[in-house]
Amino acid sequence: MMVYFMPYYKRAKLLYAFIFTLLIAFTPIANAASSAVHIKSADLLANEDSYALSTDFDIVLSPVIEDALSKGIPLTFLIEFQLSTPRKYWFDDEIITQSQYLTISYHALSRQYLVVRNGRQQSFANLQQAKEEISNIKSWTVVDKKLLKKGETYIAAIKVRLDQTKLPKPVQVEAIGSNDWNIASELYRWTPVIAF
């Protein structure tokens, strides 16, 4: 090795430089126009023997993602809901966790945006309609009344994010460490009013 002929400290320097370069090369550069999901509202509404979640959120897609979508790459969003009982000195006691996938994709032949929810496909002429469709969830039955006790305080939380594992393989590679593809809402927590 060439390094052999250099003094020891020089070699060390070279090594550090190499590692540093590696780190720099694979550090994602923050994109200014980034995608985001913002949960506007969420609530639990009582049905006969269960509670249903209604939520409304905004999905903002960056030009990169919109472009990718328009080229046929499907985006799958994962909506996760969790109901728990707060505990003072320990992790909250989880009552139930539910999740739902929403896939939005572009069908080039028909020039339609397709939304798949629970295996049901809908088509929309433009992206705005499709986004509206997926960002509005009504009466998603999430928790059985039997699981809840009277007088107990519960905390509900909801999170929406792009599921990167559902992306096509090459895009997954692209998505590694990329801000564009890291689309997730903040955790939305609220205390639902439980009425029996």
Partner: protein, 723 residues
């Protein structure tokens, strides 16, 4: 270390395999994990190598044998492993980038897009065709009464060859439904939005229906001509021919795949480059680790050899180095071992040889030391090389001070030995190899000594030089002289004694016969003359008796006696006038086997001599001392007279040696004879008390003690006298 490297190599190759596979099949999260694992692994390897390197450099600084070779081998191995690796890496990264780039060219993209567009336009034309059919049907339907709509719709549908035809209200309520497909009970209804759009004009849509494939949906407003004038919507649903839809879908899928790849091409390049880099790093680090192990293995016999060398340097020939293998280094170690063994044997042989030589030399030295002759050896430069103790004693010089110095220095420092050294050196310088012999007299503190010298040149060799052997023959000469004198005295006494009695008798007879015949005056003269003759003959008789006494054969009457008592006895009788007598007798009993009469005579003679020496000396003094010295009874009689003349001192015991005006000169000769008959020694020394300005002579007599004699049987001197 070896095992660590082995384990890391196996681990690394596993990780590398996974990483190489990951480019196509593993998901992003797994890929990230693999990447992290690989980086962690590379870091671990780096740490190991750094640790090894630092250890190696420490060893080099500490000058551990083999460490430099290890570094060199390591460098060579690493170079061998890394150079091709780097080249392959550079080429493959470059190749990869170019080939990835080559996938995405404008033509392919344009062709794919064109394909998609082709599909779109053919679908569009089919949709337009469907819409046209719909328009015709709508026109027909518009003039039909409501009750016959279903049959008309069915006819129209059959005629136009459409699969589904539905007549709907604006609210989406189904008025009539006709289908080619018997299995369909309910038609797929359009959405409200679509209905709203269809109210104004024709609306066509290509719709992928899940599980059924592509469908063409045309919504056409039907303006009924009846009273209500209400607008109806005719929906025609026609599946795209399967072949066309499949082909179009295939094109679309390829286009989509292409777009996916195109989208991620930069990151793919990065990922492949990163994978390659990691592969390179892992391979190289592993290579370096392996190189470490190899170079350590190669250089370890050197360390062993170095240890062996150090052991030999310490003089340890017992160490046997462990043999590593049967390669050249192993052979080297083996030959080193055999060399060590030979060295050890040689050293042992040299050691035993040296010991033998040492023993021989010691033996020779012992012989030399116990030799009664003095031995001197000079080297070729005339320097004193070897001497023995006897030589020092005879010469009265500590020869050790001159060892290695020129021999003539002895003569320079001690002038009385000058003629001796001159004689020796003169003979030594001569080149003849013959022996020579000479007698020389030197004057020492013990008086004049006669030395017999024999010298010879040593044969020419490394130890050549000159050897000199000499003996103090003073006593031998003395003995010869004594024996001669004794013989002379005996014969003379005999010869003289014979005529003395006739002379005496004749003189007495002359007086007796003639005194009466002579007158008074003559008779008186005759009487005086005869008296003189008789007196002189008596004197002569005494003298002759003394001679014969001296010359007589030793007949001793030996008894046990106390020497102190004997001395006291004699001193009692001996009270000289005007001389102070100092007596110091030891309190120990001095038992002696001797002849009391003889010993009395010894004491008497010594005291008489001392007294004679004190004639005309101021404050004369005689000291008589007895003591025990080295199991010998020692008697010293000292005076403070003039002492003996130096030339006399060695011959003081010879008969007729006297400084006195009267006396026979036999006194000391007799003393010596008696002392020697008692196995004793006698010596005379001049006192050299220069500080006190004193002179004088000391006569030292040593006599052997009789230890075996019991005290009770000691015979008192007086009784001996009486006996």
């Amino acid at each position: 270390m070896r095992y660590i490297v082995l384990i890391t190599a196996i681990l690394g190759s596993g990780l590398l395999y996974l990483l190489a596979q990951s480019g196509s099949s593993v998901s992003g999260a797994d890929y990230t994990l693999l990447l992290g694992l690989n980086i962690a692994f590379a870091t671990a390897l780096l740490l190991i190598i750094a640790f090894q390197l630092s250890r190696l450099f420490k060893q080099i600084r500490a000058r551990v044998i083999g460490s430099r070779l290890t570094l060199r081998l390591l460098g060579a191995f690493a170079l061998m492993a890394i150079t091709p690796g780097v080249i392959v890496y550079a080429v493959s990264v470059n190749f990869l980038k170019h080939s990835i780039e080559s996938w995405f060219n404008v033509k392919v993209e344009a062709a794919l897009e064109g394909g998609v567009r082709l599909g779109q336009s053919s679908l569009d034309s089919m949709l337009a065709d469907l819409k046209q059919k719909g328009d015709n049907m709508a026109l027909n339907l518009a003039f039909q009464p409501t009750n016959s709509q279903l049959t008309v719709l069915n006819d129209l549908r059959e005629k136009s060859g459409v699969q589904d035809a539905v007549l709907l209200t604006m609210q989406g309520k189904i008025l009539a439904f006709s289908s080619n497909d018997a299995t369909t009970f309910l038609p797929a209804t359009p959405s409200l939005d679509q209905l709203r759009q269809a109210r104004l004009r024709d609306f066509g849509i290509i719709e992928p229906i899940a599980g059924k494939g592509l469908y063409l949906r045309a919504l056409i407003p039907v303006n009924m001509n009846d009273i209500g004038g209400e607008t109806r919507i005719l929906q025609l649903l026609q599946p795209v021919p399967k072949q066309l839809s499949d082909t179009a879908e295939a094109v679309q899928n390829v286009y989509q795949d292409y777009q996916e790849l195109s989208l991620s091409r930069e990151s793919m390049k990065q990922v492949f480059a990163l994978t390659l880099t990691l592969v390179l790093m892992l391979a190289m680090l592993t290579a370096v680790s392996v190189a470490f192990v190899l170079s350590r293995r190669l250089s370890s016999p050197l360390g062993v050899l170095a240890d062996g060398t150090r052991a030999i340097a310490r003089g340890d020939y017992e160490t046997v180095l462990p043999v590593h293998g049967n390669d050249e280094l192993g052979v080297l170690v083996q030959s080193f071992n055999s060399m060590t063994k030979q060295l050890g044997d040689a050293k042992q042989a040299a050691e035993s040889n040296r010991a033998r030589v040492e023993a021989a030399r010691g033996y020779l030295e012992t012989i030399l030391a116990h030799l009664s002759s003095g031995v001197l050896a000079l080297n070729d430069k005339g320097e004193l090389r070897t001497y023995n103790l006897t030589a020092s004693n005879i010469l009265g010089v500590v020869l050790g001070h001159f060892s290695g110095h020129p021999f003539e220095k002895v003569g320079q420092e001690f002038p009385h030995l000058k003629n001796l050294t001159d004689l020796i050196l003169q003979n030594a310088n001569e080149t003849n190899l013959n022996e020579w012999q000479a007698e020389i007299e030197i004057v020492t503190t013990q008086g004049q000594r006669t030395l017999l010298l024999r010298g010879t040149r040593l044969p020419y060799s490394a130890d050549s030089g000159y050897l000199l052997v000499f003996d103090d023959i003073t006593s031998m000469v003395q003995a010869q002289r004594d024996a001669a004198w004794g013989e002379v005295a005996r014969r003379l006494a005999h010869e003289i004694k014979n005529p003395l009695t006739p002379i005496q008798l004749s003189a007495e007879r002359i007086e007796h016969k003639l005194s009466s015949k002579l007158d008074a005056a003559d008779s008186e003269m005759l009487k005086r003359a005869t008296e003189t003759i008789v007196a002189q003959v008596d004197a002569m008789k005494t003298m002759v008796n003394e001679f014969s006494e001296y010359a007589r054969a030793p007949v001793l009457n030996l008894v046990n006696l106390d020497f102190n008592a004997l001395v006291r006895d004699v001193l009692e009788l001996y009270q000289p006038v005007g001389i102070s007598l100092e007596v110091a007798l030891t309190k120990q009993s001095l038992n002696l086997l001797g002849d009391a009469t003889m010993l009395r005579q010894v004491l008497h003679n010594l005291l008489q001599n001392a007294q004679d020496a004190l004639d005309g000396v101021k404050s004369p003094k005689i000291e008589v001392v007895t003591m025990i010295n080295a199991n010998q009874i020692q008697l010293s009689v000292a005076d403070n007279g003039a002492g003996f003349p130096m030339e006399m001192i060695s011959r003081a015991f010879e008969p007729y040696m006297t400084t006195k005006r009267h006396g026979t000169g036999l006194g000391l000769a007799i003393v010596k004879k008696i002392v020697e008959e008692h196995q004793g020694n006698i010596a005379i020394e001049n006192v050299k008390a220069e500080l006190a300005h004193q002179t004088g002579a000391v006569v030292l007599v040593s006599l052997p003690m009789n230890k075996t004699a019991p005290k009770k049987r000691i015979v008192k001197p007086k009784k001996v006298e009486q006996a």
